[in-house]
Symmetry: C2
Subunit: 160 residues, 2 copies
DNA sequence: TAGCAGTGATTCGAATTCGTAGCAAGCGGC
DNA sequence: GCCGCTTGCTACGAATTCGAATCACTGCTA
């Protein structure tokens, strides 16, 4: 990690404003998820990724990388979600080491249940402060940043 | 929380891209802070806010709101930082209920020690992907969002 | 095809995070 | 000046989070 010149105040501000905005938004949606689910933020991310995404079942490590979480932490959460009947875990037929997590109908139903209130919070806290042009610009910038960051080895790739 | 229409895919993408970008960036800087401090993300935020900001001593609740953290969680972290000699805690002379946290010289030294490597990570993961125009646009948008979100009652204001 | 490094997941223990309850001090109305 | 309510912080218990160690299975290579 070769240190170069210090960051300018404007650069530091980009960084801090990003982290601060995300923290405030996350706290706001967590309140809603707890009240309407209850679901934690990570539980919502896991469930929503399965229920709303392309693939209704995914492997543990893929989920952990998607939500930027430790694999052991995801094991814990997967058990919690399974105990609540929101997902199932089964051995991957293609690779006996792997575990495939799949949403259940109850899991889908819970996502549908919390989603309207969730979207309302996102609208109120985030989207209502962006007009169409700003929203588009912000989304493009963030998408590009996310895609670049995803180029790096995922969290699960740490040495052992 | 009156639900209105569902969000468009583009709107959902704004939301998820923001949260995902922040998560990836946070994970990256946490690795550096752990290696060079060691400091956790919240510890760094607390210390850096005191060492680099305007006010080198702040009240517990103000710090908790600034870093979007629970007050009891901040009590724990303040004790940890105090035990390591990085901050001091003392009664607020103006309000005997209050506790004022102040960085020590050792705390400042530690921030100075981790900062170059920290900035290098921020540069590599975030800033290197933004040219001047994009960085400026992103910063302006995020600053405005953050300021709007800060208009809402802070986390410490929850009912008891 | 036996050996073995690599990968997927879980277990375990330690550290942390949070909400609630409780304590102490301020503040307003009377 | 006193009571009742609020506010600032900490104590406590329960839940969660993480990394390291471990177990099981894959697939490469000699």
């Amino acid at each position: 990690m070769a240190p170069r010149d210090p960051l300018s105040p404007a650069q530091l501000e980009t960084y801090f404003a990003l982290m601060e905005t995300a923290s405030l938004l996350q706290y706001a949606v967590e309140q809603q998820l707890k009240a309407d689910g209850p679901l934690s933020w990570v539980q919502f991310q896991v469930l929503a990724g399965l229920a709303l995404g392309e693939r209704p079942s995914q492997r543990m490590t893929d989920i952990a990388d998607r939500v930027v979480y430790s694999r052991s932490g995801l094991t814990y959460q997967a058990r919690v979600l399974e105990d609540r009947g929101l997902v199932t875990r089964s051995a991957d037929p293609d690779d006996e080491r792997g575990t495939v997590v799949a949403v259940t109908p109850a899991g889908r139903a819970l996502v549908e249940q919390v989603l309207p209130g969730h979207e309302a919070v996102v609208r109120r806290v985030l989207l209502d402060h962006l007009d169409a042009a700003d929203g588009g610009a912000l989304t493009r910038l963030l998408q590009r940043l996310r895609d670049r960051m995803r180029q790096a080895p995922p969290r699960s790739a740490r040495r052992r």
